[in-house]
C-alpha cells in the first residue's frame, strides 16, 4: 500500500514536473527566436511597408513628401523603359540560372563523389574563400581580363586572332553573374549530392542502368530540392545585382537595378524608384513561391 501510495505521490510529482519542463521548453526557444524576429521586423517588414507607402508619395522641390497619388505606379508601369528593363532583367537572370547550374553541377558531382573525403573540406574551403572577397574587386578584375586590351585579347593577338569586344553586353554580364553565384551554387549542389544515398545509385547501376540513366532518373530527382534552391538563389542574386550591369555591361541596356539609380538621379524621384523596388520584390516573391510549389509537389 505504502508502495502504491509512494508510487502515486511519485506519479503526481512526475505529472507536474513535465509541465514545468514544457513551459521551460516553450519560453526558451521563443527567447532565442525573438532577436532575429525583431531584427526582421525592424529592418525588413517595416522598411517594406515604408517602401510601399513611399510609392504613393510626391516629389516637391527635390524632396519626397507624403501624399496618396497613383501617378508613380502609372508612370513606371506604363513606361517602355521599365517594361524593357524588366524583360531584359528576367531574361538575363533566367539565362544565368541555367548557365550557372550547367557549370556548377559537374563540379559539384566531382567534389561530392570523386574527391577523396580527406581533401573535400579543403576544396570546399577554397570555394568559400571567394565569397568573402570583395565582389566589386572581382568584377573589376574581369574588366581587365575581358577588355579590348585585356588578357584574353592579348592571348588572341599572339595567336593571330582578331580581338573580340567582350565588355559592354550580355556576355560580360553573364560572366559577372557567374562570379557572383557560381561558388554559392557549387556549394549548395555539393551538399545536396553529399546527402544522396549512394546505395540507390549503386542499385540502379546494378539493375542495369547506364550512367546517364542513373544521372537523369536517380541522381537528379534525388537533388531536385537542391537544384531548386540553387536556381532560386541565382535568380534572386542576379535579379537585383547592380555591380555587374554597371561595371561589365556598361548599363547597356539597363537592368532594373540600374533603372532604380537612374530614376533617383533624375529629379530625386524616390517614389518612382520605390515602385521599381516593389515590383522587383514581387517578382522575387513569385520565384520563391514557384520554387516552394515545385518542391512541395515533389514531396507529395
Amino acid at each position: 500500500m505504502n508502495n502504491y501510495s509512494d508510487n502515486l505521490v511519485l506519479s503526481k510529482n512526475i505529472s507536474t514536473k513535465p509541465s514545468i519542463k514544457v513551459r521551460k521548453g516553450r519560453w526558451f526557444p521563443a527567447a532565442l527566436a525573438l532577436p532575429p524576429l525583431l531584427w526582421q521586423f525592424m529592418f525588413f517588414v517595416l522598411p517594406m511597408f515604408f517602401l510601399l507607402a513611399l510609392t504613393f508619395w510626391e516629389v516637391k522641390s527635390y524632396k519626397p513628401v507624403p501624399a496618396f497619388v497613383m501617378d508613380n505606379w502609372i508612370r513606371i508601369l506604363g513606361s517602355s523603359s521599365f517594361q524593357k528593363a524588366l524583360a531584359y532583367t528576367i531574361q538575363m537572370s533566367t539565362l544565368s540560372s541555367i548557365i550557372t547550374i550547367i557549370i556548377a553541377l559537374p563540379a559539384a558531382c566531382i567534389l561530392a563523389f570523386r574527391i577523396n573525403k580527406k581533401h573535400q573540406p579543403i576544396l570546399i574551403a577554397l570555394l568559400v574563400v571567394p565569397v568573402f572577397t570583395s565582389y566589386v574587386l572581382r568584377t573589376y578584375a574581369w574588366q581587365v581580363v575581358l577588355s579590348p586590351q585585356g588578357l584574353i585579347n592579348w592571348v588572341f593577338s599572339h595567336l593571330g586572332v582578331t580581338s573580340i569586344d567582350m565588355l559592354g553586353g550580355a556576355f560580360a554580364l553573364q560572366i559577372g553573374y557567374l562570379t557572383l553565384c557560381l561558388p554559392v551554387v557549387v556549394l549548395i549542389l555539393t551538399f545536396s549530392l553529399l546527402g544522396v544515398d549512394r546505395s540507390q545509385l549503386e542499385a540502379a547501376s546494378n539493375l542495369g542502368c547506364r550512367p546517364h540513366q542513373v544521372f537523369w532518373h536517380v541522381l537528379l530527382p534525388s537533388i531536385r530540392n537542391g537544384i531548386l534552391l540553387a536556381v532560386t538563389t541565382v535568380f534572386m542574386l542576379t535579379f537585383s545585382d547592380y555591380i555587374a550591369p554597371l561595371l561589365l555591361s556598361g548599363s547597356n541596356p539597363p537592368t532594373l537595378s540600374i533603372l532604380i539609380v537612374d530614376t533617383i538621379k533624375s529629379g530625386a524621384q524616390w517614389p518612382r524608384a520605390a515602385v521599381i523596388g516593389i515590383v522587383m520584390m514581387l517578382f522575387i516573391g513569385l520565384v520563391l513561391w514557384l520554387s516552394q510549389l515545385l518542391s512541395s509537389k515533389e514531396k507529395r
Binding site: K63, P64, P66, S147, L247, G250, N252
Partner: protein, 356 residues
Amino acid sequence: MGATAAVAPYSNFAYSDSPRVLNYLAWPGNADPYLIAEFEKAHNVKVRIKEYVGGDQMLALLHQAPPGSFDVVMADAEYMHLLKEADFLQKLNPDDYPLDDYWPEFQEFPLHWFDGDLYSVMTDFGYLGLSYNTEVFRPEEVESYDVMLSDKAKGKVGFFDFYLPSMGCVSLAAGNKTPFDLSLAEFDLLSNKLMSLRGQASGFYTIADIFSSFSNRQATLIPGIGEWITLGLRESGVPVDTIIPNEGGLQWTESMSILKSSPKQDLARKFIQWTTSPKGQALMATKPDNKKSIPSKAGWELLNKTMPDEAELLRMQLNAPNVIDEFRTKKIAYRQLPSNQSIETWNDLWTDFKSA
C-alpha cells in the same frame, strides 16, 4: 520615421555649427588639402565638405538638410537659377571679389547675375566636345560629330551617363545652334539623332568608368566630356584628346555661392575670396586629380610665372593659342538646363535612349 528614411541618403553629413568649421557642399575633390590647406591654416578653421555628384543631388541635399547646414555651395552655373528661385542664395557684393582680375568674358557671367545682383562667383570652367582615341581617329576625322555614325565607331561610342552634357552635344550634332533652347521640331531632331546613335553605343559610363573604358579601348569616342578627363589620361600615357567639332561644344562652369541660412557669412566670403585669388585659382587649375581652366587672368599670370609647364599643358599660356581663344570662336554654348521642355522630358528621352 518615413520622412527620416526618405531623406536618410542625404542626411549622413554631420555639419558643424562651430565657428571654426566651414560646411562646404561641392563636387568631389574640392576639399583636397592641395586647394584648402593654406586657407585653413591662415584662418585657423577646418573646411568640412559634403560631396555630391550631379546637380539634382545637390538640390536634393539643400532642400532636405536643415537650414544652416551648409555655408558655401559650389554648383554648376545651370543650376544657379533653381538655387535662386528656392531662395537659398545670399546676394553678394561684387566689390568683395576680385572680378576685375577675370578675363572680360567672365567678369559678368550671365548665369550668375539676377536683376543686376551677383549671387555666385565663377571658380573654374571647361569645354565639352568630342573626346577620341588618337590611335584610332585622326583629328580631321573628328571635326564633325558625324564621325560617331561611322563604321569605325560602331559599338565604340561611349556615353557619359549624365543626360545634360551628352544630349547637349548630340543636340549640337543635330544642328541645333542653341542646344538647350529647343522648339518642338528641334527637340525631335535631337531625339532622332540620339536614337540613330543607339547602335553605335558601347555603354553608359560613370566618371570612373569613362576613365577605364577609354584606357582599355572599350570606347574610342565619347561626346559630352572634355579635357577634364582626357588631360589626366594623356598624362598617364593613354592616347586620347578632345576636340570642339565644327557643330560646336559646351562650356561647364563651376561657381561658389554663400547660403543665405549660413551663420558664418564672413568666413564663407573669405573662403570664396581665397578660391578666386590668383594663388587659389592657380591651385584650382592644377589640382592633381582634375585639372581645370580658370577665369582669373591674374591666376593665369601666376600660373605662367610659377608653373609654366602646367600652363602649357592646360593651354593657358598668355602668348600662345589658349582656351580663351576657343571661347572667342563663338562655337561654345553654355551648358544649361532645358528651357522649353521639362528636365523630366529630357531625362525620359535619355532613359528611353539607354533602353532602346
